[in-house]
Subunit: 129 residues, 2 copies
DNA sequence: ATGACTGCAAAGACTTTGCATCTTT
DNA sequence: AAAGATGCAAAGTCTTTGCAGTCAT
């Protein structure tokens, strides 16, 4: 009953694209990025593989920005900063988080720490006006 | 250029519903909850007011669970636990978070700490089988 | 009266899915 | 050959929006 995973150049390309990107890309972004090199790539394939990667824990979902889910190929623990103006997602160091009452609600398997605000680029733009 | 906010019994009901709920409801949930008491309530009205509340900071978006955004009427700082099995959202105490490199990326205006795992109810169900 | 609020239905946006075809093993 | 992977287009979901009627001030 084991599901076999076969090699696929497209899957490989999608994974490498996410892992080499430093922008925490969306499915659409990955698609747009690879389409020139792989003309017969389908957006559905990107979505299908992204879902697979997430199941396998190879990739993490960072959160929804302007309606699109953003992914991170870096699974090492760290936190994020999301700009409310331009939607840019930046990395921040990992933070030690521990909650006393955890046992009262359930068993934690992961934690996401996300800061929201205005990135430096957008702050500058605002200051200029 | 000021936008005036008029009184509306439906808006009032929606806000009270969210604030009195302890389940971090979705738009659909609020609608289903109020529909019996307010038969001519429209789902669009729930969405419109939810968006307004969020703009005004009266309500917070907790995150997307199974495709639906969940809201929290408690704006006091605290963290959340989301069960991957049943989607239940539970409250946890606030956590002190501070990141050294914050200034390198932008100006933080808020922070969200969310734990993911399996809630106690689901753990029990799994254990029984 | 004026402008805000709402219902309804249509439109939008993102993501998933069915099916025939192509690939990998 | 068997089963997985993909393209394409259709379908699904959640959410937003246009418009005309209703309501608060």
């Amino acid at each position: 009953m084991e599901r076999v995973t076969r090699y696929s150049p497209k899957r490989q390309a999608i994974l490498e694209c996410i892992c080499s990107a430093d922008c925490h890309p969306s499915a659409e972004w990955v698609y747009a990025m690879l389409k020139p090199q792989i003309p017969d790539l389908s957006l559905a394939t990107v979505y299908r593989n992204l879902a697979r990667f997430r199941e396998d824990g190879v990739v993490l979902a960072v959160g929804n920005v302007d309606g699109q889910e953003r992914y991170d190929g870096d699974t090492a623990p760290h936190s994020h900063f999301i700009c409310r103006e331009c939607g840019k997602v930046s990395d921040l160091p990992a933070i030690e988080v521990a909650v006393p009452n955890m046992a009262t609600v359930g068993k934690s398997e992961g934690c996401s720490v996300t800061f929201y605000g205005c990135c430096n680029e957008c702050l500058e733009k605002t200051a200029q006006n």
